[in-house]
């Protein structure tokens, strides 16, 4: 490759990383935590720390009465019934109806798996925030809503793909760089080596996560755009062309198949119990029920088939029976992206690799600033690079602290359940912003990183103890006789918190070269006060 091309490629890598690197960091960091969405869901809600009853309650009467009472004579647009699982050890019923303004309103109820007694509902908070912030940045309705947020995340996935490709092309000595880690050289070399080594070793995972993330995000904007172009704006015609014509409601009321009878359905080639049922045209003679089974560690979101909602007979020509190679590939995208196909060990691997990608991105940002502040690159004043450096430092180390703070907030929150999500978001942004302000006040990015990470580690450990105190469960008893998943989260919080704390204490308090200068100056003038490095 000629030098001009190499430089252009390097520029593209550098500017993609700088322009979107921080967003990549945000999405990657939140994604690494969101891998444990189901486990955190159980940890945050003590009502979920139940065991699935061996003899489940008969639910059909309870469910149909609840539906009738909630629908108030209206035909529901969407009905769903979930059976107890280890993550959600109770029955869940959900339905969507149109209110008087034509807006869709979703309502949900959960019941004890042994007795069928209604369980109290809890407002969405910690786990939902972590997952949705990763998926759509909780993008506000006034600015395009979740679809806009998802599209932005998809574009970030595309940017990450571009950064990966240009990064690989920039490496002319890949084999050599795979094993080069100069720990005892300058700060910049250390960061550069770590950036390259981690980037090259994790390359297959990072490529997969960028590609699947881009697909999951880009689909949100691609569907309407393609419909606009090829179907002249008719999105429903597009869905019909892709998904096939759906059966229309007949308008004739009919008795539905019992949810208790559906509980015994099985996939012909599997043994997994029914997970949930989506009921189309509930209460109508043309009702169709989609039966979903949790795949047994296979690379697909769900497995299932469709039955007639009145007779219970399997529909032979439904979309479930016409799966092609393209369907299988697309169905594999979500489990591949979220690591849901291989158990808890795989989730830990995803977490570690995801965090390493976050570190690579942060290192890239730090190197960019370092080269301009202490190297020969860059045409702007030091002040500009200092501001970028402070924003990048505060923003990157603020995110672990904000995440740790959410765990504590979840246990200490005492307000109304409907307001839980609002206060969760407020806490998240307030705590995230604090280290940015601190970085400008402290004027020493090394100290800010060290202190904020130490605080994050302490907060993670504290969250486990607060959970034990507030919910009357010690994590030790949880690991013995109590609920395994919640106990596992507690222990993970303690381990990750302790590791973060230990790691932060090994970080330098100031830039090594500057520390040397200060030492020399102090020896020459012992009475002079030592100034923080970045303030000089």
């Amino acid at each position: 490759m000629d030098r001009a091309r190499h430089l252009r490629n390097y520029d593209l890598h550098s500017w993609t990383g700088l322009a979107l690197g921080f967003f990549v960091y945000v999405v990657v960091f939140t994604g690494s935590v969101a891998v444990f969405h189901h486990e955190i869901l159980t940890w945050e809600d003590p009502a979920k720390r139940l065991t699935v009853a061996e003899e489940p309650a008969q639910m059909n009467e309870i469910f149909t009465e609840w539906l009738a009472a909630r629908a108030g004579g209206e035909a529901p647009e969407f009905v769903r019934f979930s059976y107890p699982t280890s993550y959600e050890p109770y029955f869940v019923g959900g339905m969507t109806i149109k209110d008087e303004n034509g807006k869709f309103e979703y309502t949900e109820q959960r019941w004890d798996s042994a007795t069928g007694a209604p369980l109290p509902t809890r407002g969405a908070g910690l786990s939902e925030w972590l997952l949705d912030f990763h998926r759509d940045l909780m993008w506000p309705e006034g600015l395009g809503g979740r679809t806009a947020g998802r599209t932005i995340v998809g574009i970030i996935g595309v940017a990450l793909m571009l950064a990966i490709i240009t990064g690989v092309v920039a490496h002319t000595k890949i084999l050599e760089e795979l094993f080069t880690l100069r720990f005892f050289r300058s700060v910049r070399l250390k960061w550069q080596d770590a950036h390259k080594v981690m980037g090259l070793w994790g390359l297959p995972f990072y490529s997969m996560i960028a590609f699947t993330g881009a697909i999951l995000g880009v689909v949100a904007i691609l569907g309407p755009l393609v419909a606009l172009l090829t179907f002249k704006g008719d999105q429903e015609a597009l869905f019909a062309a892709v998904l096939g014509e759906q059966v229309e409601a007949s308008g004739e009321p009919a008795q539905m198949v019992s949810v208790d009878d559906m509980a015994s359905l099985k996939m012909p080639d599997g043994d997994a119990p029914v997970w949930y049922v989506v009921m189309n045209h509930y209460g109508d003679a043309n009702a169709r029920f989609d039966i979903y089974f949790e795949p047994d560690r296979e690379l697909t979101i769900v497995e299932g088939f469709q039955i007639d909602g009145v007779t219970g007979e399997r529909i032979a020509d439904s979309q479930f029976e016409k799966l092609t190679a393209a369907n299988h590939v697309l169905n594999a995208v979500t489990p591949l992206h979220y690591g849901t196909f291989g158990g808890i060990a795989l989730k830990f691997a995803y977490f570690a690799l995801g965090m390493s990608l976050a570190v690579i991105t942060a290192l890239g940002l730090m190197m960019w600033v370092e080269r301009r502040l202490h190297g020969s690159t860059g045409s702007r004043s030091d002040r500009v690079y200092l501001i970028i450096g402070r924003l990048a430092t505060g923003g990157t180390v603020g995110m672990p602290l904000a995440t740790a703070a959410l765990f504590i907030h979840d246990k200490l929150y005492v307000g109304a359940e409907e307001q839980r999500m609002f206060w969760t978001g407020l806490t998240y942004f307030a705590v995230w912003a604090a280290p940015i302000g601190y970085a400008f006040w402290r004027k020493n990015d090394y100290a800010v990183t060290r202190e904020t990470l130490a605080l994050s580690g302490g907060a993670l450990c504290a969250a486990a103890f607060i959970n034990a105190a507030i919910t009357d469960y010690s994590f030790l008893s949880l690991l013995g006789d109590g609920h395994k998943i919640a106990g596992f989260v507690d222990v993970s919080l303690l381990v990750v918190g302790a590791l973060t704390l230990a790691f932060s204490l090994r970080l330098p308090e100031r830039r090594a070269a500057e520390a040397r200068k200060t030492r020399v100056r102090t020896q020459a003038e012992p009475e002079r006060k030592i100034t923080p490095v970045a303030a000089e």
Binding site: D11, V158, L225, A241
Partner: protein, 105 residues
């Protein structure tokens, strides 16, 4: 199209033309790679052989790759105008194919 919208579209096109003239690589990576991806995907969807549902799924999978491929090309090519001209040509050609085709039903 209302006159206000027409003015906005014209202004946007003038700005885009100016940006392309000033920085052909950057504008191509940010704007033209995206438009070329969208229109080429739509044209493929309309005219490529095979069942529509299958084409739609495969193209969904291909879109991020096509997009990144175009972006990469803008900085790979030695001449800054070649990728810009190429992407504009793809956008216009595929746009013409899509708009002149009968709408799918």
């Amino acid at each position: 199209m209302t006159p206000v919208l027409l003015v906005i579209v014209c202004l946007a096109l003038v700005c885009l033309a100016a940006a392309t003239w000033k920085a052909p690589r950057l504008s191509s990576a940010i704007v033209w790679a995206l438009t070329a991806t969208i229109f080429s995907s739509a044209a493929l969807l309309v005219h490529a052989p095979g069942p529509f549902a299958q084409k739609a799924l495969w193209i969904t999978l291909a879109v991020p790759v096509i997009w990144v491929g175009f972006q990469f090309w803008t900085y790979w090519d030695g001449k800054p105008w070649r990728p810009a001209a190429g992407l504009i040509a793809i956008t216009c050609l595929c746009g013409g194919i899509v708009f002149l085709s009968e709408p799918l039903t």
